[in-house]
Every structure is written in structure tokens, then in C-alpha cells.
């Protein structure tokens, strides 16, 4: 026989004890590896969902402007598709009660309307045939999720609401803001419903919530939006190198919404204006041009009175000889303006044999529509009063003094604050003199897009005749509905306050002849100080052309220079690597898997303690076997090696079993998550993903840990003499200060100091990893300290005798008889208790003070979001009137906020937010204050009366960051940023804006977004227009009524209000669901503890059955004996419980102080009671079952 044969023989012979150890090791492996697999699965599922959602799309470009769909052509990718992606809402009117408004209407918000053609479906299973997608039928294909929400089926008619397209910024003077102008209703028939998979799930947004897609043919959507041939998104699959260069090469001025016009272009446009239907093939009849053209042209018509377009072109070529750079957005984007000027300066036009060089002069122009120009009267006067002289709706142009049409005649040049007025025959200002005060009234949209009438007084510098360069209507960019009308009376629905009665015959005649020619000039600087906005500070750039230079090559050269110099990124023409981002974000946002592992750690420790305990018990049982081996000359080392070998074999086999268990465990945990995820269906994508690395790591780590535990369990053997072992002793009995007490002192000291450090650190550290570390660290160390203390006490209890033995004392003494065994049992229970108590104290509930102004809701009963932005101030009576709201609605105050759509930063989003959603809050909102701050960075550390003002803090020139607020939980767990830290978001210039977290809100409703001040928002996200996030202040008891009233009034915009408490509870539900999972771990730990306790008890009773029989023989009642046995274990139970509770409460304390968890109370007591009950039940069962056996037979056996 060899050593190994003996080892194998032992394994088989002691199979009962070994099986227990094996199962313990298996459990440890299962818990550890299972925890790793849960993490793998979470990440893997998120990743595969993200990839599934993207379908074939690798990279995507989504722009705020509409560009040519043809831009996609020729981009280096195997698959290309231009599309219109629009946010909107869907409504299905139930045919049952069409009359009752609000009733019988099913709405679904957050819908995405995708205008796509067959290229989108290519190579996938094509829903409906190719011709459908290439045509323009008013039909839609819904995905199952949206169809389900709408309860719509094939053949139903639904209405999709999207935002109308308009190049003119809605938040500028001429922007169209009222609901009819903003909303476009598309009535479509449902042709098919796509299953919840493949492209039916298509979404560029990473969110576990399934998208709500309505696919319509691209051409249909283009036509409805008036965007023929245009798109706002390009999707690419299998991208090849050189994409960005190809984009730049493909871009035209049209894509930038820009155009460079030549004199001939403008001449033709004018000809078209005069004769829109071109009835006479470019020859304009006298009736059309009479009184409308400059004197030069009145002499040009043919004998029949026909004015040929060529004549107009000639006129333009000589009199209005310049190029203009204009945008259909009316203002030139600041970067376009800058690039346009740089491009013009880089030009050198060379002509003739002499090689003369000419540099064109770039002339910026800002024109604005004034409400009126009038001589300033000394006292306020009623508007439109009799005798008042005014020019209503006049165009005023701002130019640099030396660029003015009459610059040469003005010496010194025009000053800021001075004005030049046009003089013509019907001018009402014929009597004004230089030096008179002239009042300029104009409208300007304030922060809530409320047009404010402002007045500016100018000093009249002089007047000028409307001739030469001053006779030019092309200063003003086109504005459909106004500039294309031949008479002022025909203006269509002007978006500014307009009163037709103010237009006098003189105004009409001016329009007839001069149309949009400026009636006044001021300096560009003054104009910009009045009218510049975030969309730009110039309406056109002009490049005067020398008469000797040919126009065509000039345009070509300027255009190509401009395009070469415009950076596609500035215009948002940047492809985002969607697939890459998906893989990155799939790594998960919340550290659920890390936390899970952290909490599992205690369970792993518990199972290791069980392994140690079981192994220890088996050694105890085999003590004399060890003793005999020693007596026959085995070395201690050999004996230990034998035991160790057995242990390793058990760990290896147990671990392998545990791996199978891990799969089961992980699958169960995922099932638990799936089942308890608030909102249910969202997590159906969660599937078991097996990471081989995790399996290997989990297996290796568990074996290592089991082996170390076993090594430790056999350690004591070295110090026992063979004689003691032969006598069955496995405990070192010593009375003086032994090594083990010294060890325990050391552990106690180190653990207490360490725990204290962690505890203190828990209050001060802010990094979430550090916080979690301090929590788990102080927990583990405190547990160790408690157990070290218990060890000392057990040693003492085991050795000291007392004069008056009682049952309880006898129990304690017995607990001390096998101190290690007792310690392990108590440790098991302590670990389980720790888990349960710690998790319980993290449980969150909505506090009573939630509705206070200083609570988490900020005193707002409701918040709302709209799918299509709202551009009007919902507090204005004029806006509210058509909404037919009840009288008490006066009390309702709505704070509108701007939103840069992005990733949800709350725990509701399992993905890592790469582009967090940003909300801009208004000044009024900041002034209102409220909410509770966990912390903030006041200027120089001061406390602020209203911490919201940190958003408005002064920043040094060099501070290139924007102050932002975040919710404390979102910052800690999802964004992983602490106070003073930075988060980067892509701004509208395509660069990164650094948001500095200057304040953390506590338990607030703002977990899904970052908050910045409106000013900063407009600066960094100038192209995001309108309000789509609302905080609604009103009487709490009317919450439901307010919600209903607003939702039905603004339903088409996809306005959905949510009670703030509901939003907070949604967050809590997720957090509490996580905690429920951890709680399950705690219960499993408790089960282990109970098993351990029962085993120890059974073993103890078995070992002492003789002793117990004797006591019975001496006249003890069986019941008393049960109590005796229980007393011993009750001590362990209570000791473990106390250690676990204490450690948990102390470890949790710093984190509760910071985050305000629910008050521990009855529920905790209940839980602890449950632990005691389970322990006692295990004890009683064990004691009773053993003591029921005839004890006297046991006595005889001794």
C-alpha cells in the first residue's frame, strides 16, 4: 500500500463526513463562480441586446439639420441607408367613442418614426415588398411593442405626431412656435406588425427598454415634411477606412443649409417673384413689373412692354454685383460665418494678362425686422395714437460703417447709436432732421420664447436716397410666406405680432417698389448687440465682385474653398461608432455585478467557514487515527499532508460539482432579477452567458480558498502531541497566555484599527469604489474583530470554572469546550446576519418629507416630458386659454426646461451612460430653489442660502467647464463621479463640453439627467430648441387632475406627466430589487448558518451522548437536557447574531448618514427574530432527534 492508496482509502471510508466537506466546497464554488457568471450574463446580455438593436448598423450619423439623402451615396461602406429618424408620439382613436375627447384615445409617447427605404431592410427579411418602401404610401409598419401599446393591429389607422421641419430657428423672431406650426400629424394605416426582434427592435439609443418604432416609407415622410430628397440620418454597415474624408468630399453647401448666390441667381429669383408662374417664358409683362423695378429697368422692356429676364440679369450684373453667402436658417451659424470670412480672405482672384490681383472684401450684414421706426416722442404716448408717424414692419440693416452703401458720403463714419433713414417720396419722415431722436421698436424672444417688445432710441445721422447700392431688397434673406408675397396685405400668418391695420398705403407702395430693402441702417456692432442670438450674429456675408472678373469661376472657387474649410464636425456631420459604443456601454452601468460579488463574498466566507467546520469535525473524529500514525513514526508533516491531500481532493471534486451548481445558481439569480425587475418585460433579454474565464477563475479561486481553509484546519495538529491525539484530543488545552490568545489579540487589534479606519473613511471618501470598499472593508474587519473577541471569551469560558453551575453556565462551558467549532458556527451565523442586516438597512423608501419643498420632489407634485418640444410658455394665459383648463389651474406653475437627449443616468438604465442626458434649468427655477442637497461646492466653501445658485457661479476665463448638478445616487453608482469631478458630453459643435459636478442632490427625482443652467445650455447646445422637460408646481391634492388636463391638452406633443413620487419609486424599485437579490444571498447564508449549527449540535450531542445518558441516569429530565444542549447553542447563536448585527450597523452607518436610508426598525428586529428562530429550530430538531434515542444504551456503549 502506498500513501496515495491510503489517501484514497480514507476518502472512501470517511465518505459521509467527506461528502459534507465536498458539498461545502461545492457551495463555495457555486456562490463565487455563480456571482461571476451573473456579472458575465448581465454584461453579455446587455451587449447582445445592444448589438441586436443595432442590427446591421455599425456607424450612424444623426444630425439636427436635414441634409441631402444623397450624401450617403458613395460613402465607403458595404451597406448604406439614409433615413429620417424623428421623435414623436402615436395615437390611435378608438372607433367606439370618437366624440368624447380624451376618451377612447390610446396614446404612446417616446415613439420613433423612422422614414426608411428598402436599403434599410436589405438582406434582412423584408417586411412588405421593396416597392412599398420605395413608394410613398401613407402606411406604416409598427414594431410589436408599439403596436401593443396602441392596441393596434394590421388595418387600423393611427396618427403619428412629429415635429414639422422648419429651417428657421423656432426660438428666433421669425420662428414658428405655436402648436399647429410645430406639430405634424401623419394619419397612416398599419400595414404590418414586426416581431420584437431583429430590425423591429432597431434603435440607436442604448436602453434596455424596448423601442417603440413606427416605420414609414422614406418618401412618404419626406413629402409630408416638405423635405423631398432629404434625411437627417445615415446608417452604415461594414465601414471601410476613409469615411470621414469621404463625408467631407460629399458635403455640399446644400447639406449645410447654405447657398452662395450670384447676381444672376438673384436676378432670376426676382424675375420669378415678379412672374411666379413664368407665363411668358422669362419675358415679364408690364402689369407685373410696372412700379416694381428700378428706373434703369423701366427703360429696358421691348416694344410690347415685356421685360426680358436677361435685362434683369444684366442689371444685377452691373448694379448688384456681389456674391452672398446665406443660410436657410436666416442666421449664419457662428462657425459658418467665421469660415465664410476666412474663405473669402484666402481668395485671390487674378485676372488679365497683367496678372492683377484682387482680394474681395467680405461684408457681414445683419438685418432684422423692426416692429416700427418712429420719431421718439418725449412722453409716453398711446400706441397708434392719432397723428403718430411710424413705419411699421421695417427692415433695418446693421453693417460696418465703411461697408454702408453710402459710406463715401459719410464723414466721419456712422457711429454706434446713430441711424440712417431712407428717404423716398412717400416717406412719413420727410420732416425729420439730423440729430432727431428716432425710436426703434422690435420684438425679441425672451428665454421662454415670449416675444418682448423692446425699444431703442437712436440719433438720426441723416437720410439717404433709395438708389444705387441702397436700392437692394436682397439684404434680407428669404422668408417663405413674407418675402415671396407681392403685397404686404398678402403676408401669410406672420409669426410675429402683426396688425394689418397699421399698414398704410405708403407702406404698401414701398413694398411694391422696394420690397425688403432696408429702410434704415445702423452699425453692425449696435445691431449685433441688439439682435445677435445663439443662432448667429449675421444674416449674410457679401463678397463684392470686381466688374472685370467673371462671376462663374469666382463662385466655384469660393464655394470649393468654403467647403474645404468647413469642418464637418462643426455641422454635426460626424459618424458615431455605434457598435463600438454598444460594446463599451454593455459593460454595464451600475456595478451590480461588483456589488453582487461583494455581498456574495460574505456568503462565500460563510461557505468556507462551513468547509472549515466540517473538515475540523472530521479531523476531530479521526484524532486517534492521527495519533496512531504519529505513534508508529509518521512525522507531523506527513500526517498533515495526508489530511491535506484528502482536503485538496475534496476541494477539487467539490469545486467541479460547484461549477455545475454555479450555472444553476446564476440561472436562478437571473430568473430572480428578471422576475423582480420593476416594469417586468424589460429584462426578457437577460440570458445566461458563460464566461469561460469566470468559470476558470471561480474554480481556481474556490479551490485555493478551500485548500487554505483546510490547511488552517489541520494547522493545530502540529502542536498536539501524539498522546493527546490518541486520547482523542484535538484542542490544545492551555491555561497560561497561549499563542492562540496572543493571535486573537493581534487579530482583534488589527481588525479594530482597520475597521475604524474604514469607518472614518466611509464618511469622507466620495469615490464610489472607495465607498463600497470602506463598507465591505469595515464590515469584514469588524466581523473579524467580533469573532476574535468571541474566541477569547470562548477560551476563557472553556477554562474557568464557577462554583454554582447552572444550565446556562454549563451551556457556555460546553461552547468553550470546542472553541474553534463554536467560533466557526458563530462566524457562519454572523456572516449571514451581517448580510441580512446590512442589506436591510440599505432598503429605501420614499420619505415623508418627499413632498416638501426641501424634499426630494422639490415640492413639485408632477414632472412631465414631451416627445415634440413645446416652444411656448405654458404659464401664459394666452397659451393656456385654448387648452380649456379649469379655473384653479391658475395656481399651477410650470417650469419648462430644455433637454439634450441622451442616456438615462439612473439605475433604470443598465447600460453605462456614454452621453448623459442634460437638462437646462431656467433662471426662475434656480431662483425658486428647493430640493435637498447632499453636498455642493459653494464659492470658497461657503454655504449658500440657495445652493442652486452654484449653477450660476462666476467662472474664470480659463475655466472651460460648465457647472452641473447630479443626483447623489446617480453620480455615485452610475456616473461614477464625485463632487468636483467632471463628466463629458458632446456639444452641438461636435466637441466635448466638460460638466463639473458642483452639487449633489439627495434622493431627488433627477436621477436620469444632469442639470445645468439655461445660459450654459444655450451656449453649448444652441441647436436644441424648445422645452421638453417640465416641473409642475400646484396643489398636491389636484395631482391627478393636473396630469389629466395637461395630457389631454398637449397629447399630440406626446406630453406625459408623471407624479414625482412615482418617478422616485421607480428608482427605488430598482435599487430595492437589487437589494432583494442580495437579501436572497443573506437568506442562503442563514441557511448555511443553520446547517452549520445543526451539524455542530448533532456532533456535540453525539460526542456527549454518554455524558447526557449519565445525566439522565442521574435523574435529569429529557426536557432539561434538551435545554442544556440548546443553551450551549443559543450562546453561539446570540454571539453570532450580535457580531453580525454590530458589524453591519457600524459598517452601514457612514453610508446611511450620507444617503438617508430608511430607519431601521421593526423590520430589522423581525429579521433578527427570524434568524434566532431558524437557529433555534435547527438546534431543537438536532437535540430532540438525538435525545430521543434510548440514552442508556449509549451509556452502556461507553
Amino acid at each position: 500500500m502506498t500513501f496515495f492508496q491510503l489517501l484514497l482509502r480514507n476518502l472512501v471510508y470517511h465518505r459521509r463526513g467527506n461528502t459534507a466537506v465536498l458539498l461545502g466546497a461545492a457551495l463555495g464554488t457555486a456562490v463565487l463562480t455563480g456571482a461571476l457568471l451573473v456579472g458575465d450574463s448581465l454584461r453579455g446580455s446587455l451587449r447582445s441586446l445592444a448589438l441586436d438593436q443595432l442590427g446591421w448598423v455599425d456607424q450612424a450619423l444623426v444630425n439636427t439639420r436635414f441634409f441631402r439623402a444623397a450624401l450617403a451615396d458613395g460613402l465607403p461602406a458595404h451597406r448604406r441607408c439614409a433615413a429620417l429618424l424623428l421623435q414623436g408620439s402615436a395615437v390611435r382613436e378608438s372607433p367606439l367613442s370618437p366624440k368624447e375627447k380624451g376618451e377612447g384615445v390610446v396614446r404612446a409617447g417616446k415613439a420613433v418614426v423612422l422614414g426608411v427605404d428598402a436599403a434599410f431592410w436589405q438582406r434582412g427579411p423584408l417586411p412588405l415588398d421593396e416597392t412599398f418602401w420605395q413608394a410613398d404610401a401613407a402606411e406604416t409598419v409598427l414594431n410589436a411593442h408599439l403596436a401593443g401599446l396602441l392596441q393596434a393591429k394590421t388595418g387600423d389607422t393611427i396618427t403619428l405626431y412629429v415635429q414639422r421641419s422648419d429651417d428657421i430657428p423656432r426660438e428666433s423672431l421669425l420662428g414658428k412656435r405655436n402648436a399647429e406650426d410645430v406639430l405634424l400629424a401623419l394619419e397612416v394605416k398599419v400595414r404590418a406588425v414586426l416581431p420584437e426582434q431583429g430590425l423591429g427592435r432597431f434603435s440607436l439609443k442604448l436602453n434596455p427598454a424596448p423601442p417603440r418604432n413606427a416605420f414609414v416609407p422614406l418618401r412618404f415622410l419626406q413629402e409630408k415634411l416638405g423635405l423631398a430628397g432629404r434625411a437627417n440620418a445615415i446608417l452604415l454597415g461594414h465601414v471601410q477606412p476613409g469615411l470621414q474624408e469621404a463625408v467631407k468630399k460629399n458635403l455640399t453647401l446644400d447639406d449645410w443649409n447654405l447657398k452662395v448666390t450670384t447676381p444672376a441667381d438673384r436676378a432670376r429669383a426676382w424675375a420669378k417673384f415678379l412672374d411666379p408662374r413664368n407665363l411668358d417664358q422669362g419675358n415679364i409683362k408690364k402689369v407685373r413689373w410696372k412700379g416694381r423695378v428700378p428706373p434703369y429697368l423701366t427703360a429696358r422692356p421691348t416694344a410690347e412692354g415685356l421685360l426680358p429676364t436677361e435685362e434683369i440679369i444684366d442689371y444685377y450684373q452691373s448694379e448688384r454685383r456681389y456674391l452672398t453667402l446665406e443660410s436657410s436658417q436666416s442666421f449664419l451659424d457662428p462657425h459658418v460665418e467665421k469660415t465664410g470670412r476666412l474663405a473669402s480672405r484666402s481668395l485671390t482672384w487674378v485676372w488679365g494678362k497683367e496678372g492683377m490681383a484682387y482680394k474681395p472684401n467680405d461684408t457681414p450684414v445683419l438685418v432684422y425686422l423692426a416692429d416700427s421706426i418712429a420719431p421718439s416722442l418725449p412722453t409716453p404716448h398711446p400706441k397708434g395714437a392719432k397723428g403718430e408717424v411710424e413705419i411699421p414692419y421695417a427692415i433695418v440693416a446693421g453693417m460696418r460703417p465703411h461697408d454702408l452703401p453710402l459710406a463715401n458720403e459719410l464723414q466721419p463714419p456712422l457711429q454706434d447709436g446713430e441711424i440712417l433713414l431712407a428717404q423716398w417720396t412717400d416717406s412719413p419722415f420727410l420732416s425729420v432732421k439730423p440729430g432727431d431722436k428716432i425710436a426703434l421698436r422690435y420684438f425679441y424672444p425672451d428665454r421662454h420664447n415670449h416675444l418682448e417688445l423692446r425699444e431703442e432710441t437712436f440719433v438720426l445721422r441723416g437720410t439717404f436716397p433709395l438708389e444705387g447700392r441702397a436700392d437692394d431688397p436682397d439684404f434680407t434673406p428669404e422668408f417663405p410666406g413674407i418675402t415671396d408675397k407681392q403685397d404686404m396685405a398678402n403676408w401669410e400668418n406672420p409669426p410675429f405680432p402683426y396688425d394689418a391695420k397699421r399698414i398704410k398705403p405708403a407702406d404698401e407702395s414701398f413694398w411694391k417698389r422696394y420690397k425688403t430693402t432696408p429702410r434704415a441702417y445702423i452699425t453692425l456692432a449696435t445691431a449685433q448687440s441688439l439682435w445677435a442670438n445663439r443662432f448667429g450674429k449675421v444674416t449674410a456675408l457679401r463678397l463684392a465682385l470686381d466688374p472685370r472678373w467673371n462671376v462663374a469661376p469666382a463662385v466655384e472657387e469660393y464655394t470649393s474653398k468654403l467647403l474645404a474649410m468647413l469642418s464637418p464636425a462643426d455641422g454635426g456631420f460626424v459618424f458615431q461608432p455605434m457598435k463600438e459604443a454598444a460594446l463599451k456601454a454593455g459593460a454595464g452601468s451600475s456595478d451590480f455585478s461588483m456589488l453582487f460579488l461583494g455581498f456574495s463574498f460574505f456568503l462565500i466566507v460563510a461557505s468556507l467557514l462551513l468547509v472549515g467546520l466540517l473538515f475540523r469535525l472530521s479531523i476531530d473524529r479521526r484524532a486517534n487515527e492521527m495519533g496512531l500514525l504519529l505513534a508508529t513514526g509518521w512525522r507531523h508533516g506527513q500526517v498533515r499532508r495526508l489530511l491535506f491531500g484528502e482536503g485538496v481532493a475534496l476541494a477539487v471534486v467539490g469545486g467541479a460539482l460547484g461549477l455545475a451548481g454555479a450555472l444553476l445558481y446564476a440561472a436562478l439569480m437571473l430568473e430572480l432579477l428578471r422576475a423582480h425587475w420593476p416594469g417586468g418585460e424589460n429584462l426578457v433579454f437577460l440570458h445566461l452567458h458563460i464566461g469561460w474565464l469566470s468559470l476558470a477563475a471561480g474554480y481556481a479561486a474556490s479551490i485555493l480558498m478551500s485548500v487554505l481553509t483546510i490547511l488552517w484546519a489541520t494547522r493545530l495538529l502540529a502542536r498536539l502531541s501524539p498522546r493527546s491525539l490518541l486520547a482523542g484530543e484535538t484542542v490544545l488545552t492551555s491555561f497560561a497566555g497561549s499563542r492562540s490568545t496572543r493571535w486573537s489579540s493581534l487579530i482583534l487589534g488589527v481588525a479594530i484599527v482597520g475597521a475604524a479606519c474604514c469607518f472614518i473613511a466611509g464618511f469622507s471618501v466620495t469615490g464610489h469604489e472607495a465607498q463600497a470598499g470602506s463598507f465591505f472593508g469595515s464590515g469584514a474587519l469588524l466581523l473579524s474583530a467580533c469573532l476574535a473577541l468571541l474566541w477569547r471569551w470562548l477560551k476563557r469560558a472553556g477554562t474557568h470554572s464557577s462554583l454554582q453551575p447552572s444550565i446556562a453556565l454549563l451551556g457556555m462551558r460546553n461552547a468553550g469546550r470546542h472553541p474553534l467549532r463554536s467560533l466557526l458556527t458563530a462566524g457562519l451565523l454572523a456572516a449571514a446576519t451581517f448580510l441580512i442586516v446590512a442589506v436591510q438597512s440599505f432598503q429605501k423608501e420614499t420619505g415623508d418629507d418627499f413632498f416638501h419643498k426641501d424634499g426630494g420632489s422639490g415640492g413639485f407634485p408632477l414632472l412631465a416630458e414631451s416627445d415634440v418640444p413645446i416652444f411656448e410658455d405654458l404659464n401664459l394665459p394666452a397659451v393656456r386659454k385654448p387648452m380649456k383648463l379649469p379655473a384653479w389651474f391658475e395656481e399651477v406653475q410650470i417650469y419648462s426646461c430644455r433637454v439634450r437627449a441622451g442616456d438615462d443616468t439612473s439605475c433604470l438604465n443598465l447600460y453605462q451612460p456614454l452621453q448623459p442626458r442634460v437638462v437646462g434649468v431656467s433662471e426662475a427655477f434656480i431662483e425658486r430653489g428647493g430640493f435637498r442637497f447632499a453636498s455642493y461646492l459653494g464659492p470658497h466653501g461657503t454655504t449658500l442660502e440657495n445652493p442652486w445658485t452654484v449653477l450660476q457661479q462666476e467662472r474664470s476665463e480659463f475655466g472651460d467647464w460648465v457647472p452641473a448638478l447630479a443626483d447623489a445616487s446617480a453620480a455615485q453608482w452610475i456616473l461614477k463621479v464625485s463632487l468636483g469631478g467632471f463628466v463629458q458630453v458632446t456639444n452641438d459643435q461636435g466637441t466635448k463640453t466638460k460638466l463639473k459636478i458642483v452639487g449633489l442632490l439627495q434622493e431627488s427625482i433627477f436621477q436620469s439627467e444632469l442639470l445645468i443652467a439655461d445660459d450654459d445650455f444655450l451656449q453649448h447646445f444652441p441647436r436644441r430648441e424648445g422645452f421638453s422637460f417640465f416641473l409642475i408646481d400646484g396643489p398636491l391634492e389636484y395631482t391627478t387632475q393636473i396630469q389629466r388636463a395637461l395630457e389631454s391638452a398637449l397629447g399630440a406633443q406626446g406630453f406625459f406627466a408623471t407624479p414625482t413620487v412615482q418617478r422616485l419609486e421607480a428608482y427605488h424599485a430598482v435599487e430595492n430589487m437589487y437589494l432583494a437579490t442580495f437579501q436572497a444571498l443573506g437568506r442562503l447564508g442563514l441557511l448555511l448558518g443553520a446547517v452549520g449549527l445543526a451539524i455542530v449540535l448533532l456532533r456535540g450531542v453525539w460526542e456527549r451522548r454518554g455524558e447526557l445518558a449519565l445525566l439522565q441516569a442521574l435523574g435529569f429530565r429529557r426536557q432539561t437536557l434538551v435545554w442544556l444542549v440548546l443553551a450551549e447553542n443559543l450562546w453561539l447563536l446570540l454571539a453570532g447574531l450580535a457580531a453580525g448585527t454590530l458589524a453591519a450597523l457600524v459598517a452601514v452607518a457612514p453610508h446611511l448618514a450620507g444617503a438617508g436610508g430608511a430607519v431601521l426598525g421593526l423590520r430589522l428586529l423581525l429579521l433578527l427574530g427570524m434568524v434566532v428562530a431558524v437557529g433555534l429550530a435547527a438546534g431543537i430538531a438536532a437535540a430532540v432527534s438525538t435525545l430521543r434515542a434510548p440514552l442508556l444504551s449509549a451509556l452502556r456503549r461507553e
Partner: protein
């Protein structure tokens, strides 16, 4: 080979201070000597035997095997010394239940490197033949009677031709006839092996079969007065 024990003291720590069990025991033996130790229960006979068998350490005094102090050896060598020079027979035979009779006898051979395993196995078989168990080599201890088990234990103790064989109440659990047989067997084997033998027993009958008897009283060894 000789065994010298001089002024041997052994005390155990207890709750009420140290308790001295051996209080200056003397003993002298030569190769081939056989000795019975008697004495009242609790006198310290087993304690003395444990110390002689190097299973426990003396508090004070000298133990010499042929001028060598085994307790001065490091643990590894002490174990080897015990393995090769001492054979222990206990009242409880301590056979490994998971091993066969032959394997049990060979247990000491697993403690170190053995040059010729086959030879050793042959020796084990021979020993088992001598104790009359040649038919039971593959049996498990559970299948043997008390006397048979004790004979296996004797064979195990003699595997490496130990110089000193220590038997602590080897017949304590046996009936008189079996006890007598086992005692006789022990003595025969001792004479064949030419080793020293110390038998602790409560049985004057067994003691008388040995050439010399001592009695343990008050922690010292005295001549036996029957």
C-alpha cells in the same frame, strides 16, 4: 542497546496548578530484558510509557537510548527514531478500519522511504504468520475478534524490529485465556527479536510471565511486592 531513565519527572498543568505524576522515576534495561509494570490506576504508568515511547515529553529527567537522548532530536528525526526503534501496543489496538490486516501492519512503512518494500511485506506476512493470522491477511479489523485485533497490533509494533516494545495494558480488554495467549505471544516474539519489552498491566498473572516486575507508586518505580 540499553535504556536508561534517570530521575524522570512529569507534571500536567491543571486549573489548580501543576499536578506532578512522575516524581523521579528510575529505570535501567538492557537488550533482551523484559519488564512488567504494575500499579494502581492513575499512578502514571501510561504516562511513563508515553514518555518512553517519545509520544510525550518529560518535564524533567533523563531518558537515554544507548547514550542517545531522543528528545534532543528535531521533530523529523524523532519521528524516524520512533518509527524504527519503538513498537507500541495499546489497550485499544487503534487499527485503521479502512485498511486490511496486512495493510495495518505495514502502516509504519508509509512513514518514510523503504528500500525494499517487497522484503518488508514478506516480513509483515511472516509476522502475521507468527501471530497466527496468516489466513486473515485481507480481512478488515471489523471482521476480527478482540484478541485477533490485538495480535495485528503486535505485528504492526514489530514491523521494523524495534529495540523497545511498549505495551500498555495489551490484554486489558481480553478474557483471561486470550489474555494469557496474547501475553505469551508477546514474550515469545520479544525473545525471538531480542528486543526490550515493557508491559504495563493490572494482571499479576501476566506480570508473572515476565522475568521482572516493577510497581509504580507515587510517581516512582519500586520493586513489586505481590
Amino acid at each position: 542497546m540499553s535504556l536508561t531513565v534517570l530521575n524522570l519527572w512529569k507534571s500536567f498543568p491543571t486549573r489548580n496548578g501543576d499536578l506532578s505524576i512522575l516524581r523521579g522515576a528510575h529505570l535501567e534495561m538492557q537488550t533482551g530484558d523484559a519488564l512488567a509494570i504494575l500499579g494502581p490506576s492513575g499512578a502514571g504508568k501510561s504516562t511513563l510509557l508515553h514518555i518512553l515511547g517519545t509520544l510525550d515529553r518529560p518535564t524533567d529527567g533523563v531518558v537515554r537510548f544507548h547514550d542517545q537522548d531522543p528528545f534532543a532530536l528535531p521533530e523529523k528525526e524523532l519521528a524516524h527514531f520512533r518509527n524504527r526503534n519503538i513498537g507500541f501496543i495499546f489497550q485499544d489496538h487503534y487499527l485503521l478500519p479502512q485498511c486490511s490486516v496486512l495493510e495495518n501492519v505495514l502502516i509504519p512503512s508509509l512513514a518514510g522511504v523503504v528500500e525494499n518494500r517487497a522484503e518488508l511485506e514478506a516480513h509483515a506476512r511472516a509476522l502475521l504468520e507468527k501471530v497466527g493470522l496468516q489466513e486473515r491477511l485481507e480481512h478488515r479489523p471489523a471482521e476480527l475478534s478482540g484478541g485477533e485485533r490485538q495480535r495485528v497490533a503486535i505485528a504492526r509494533a514489530l514491523l521494523f524490529h524495534p529495540q523497545l516494545v511498549l505495551a500498555d495494558e495489551p490484554t486489558g480488554n481480553l478474557d483471561r485465556r486470550t489474555a494469557q495467549a496474547v501475553g505469551q505471544l508477546l514474550l515469545n516474539l520479544q525473545q525471538q527479536e531480542k528486543s526490550m519489552l515493557i508491559v504495563v498491566t493490572h494482571s499479576p498473572e501476566l506480570a508473572r510471565t515476565l522475568p521482572k516486575q516493577l510497581e509504580m507508586i507515587d510517581g516512582v518505580l519500586q520493586p513489586w511486592k505481590s
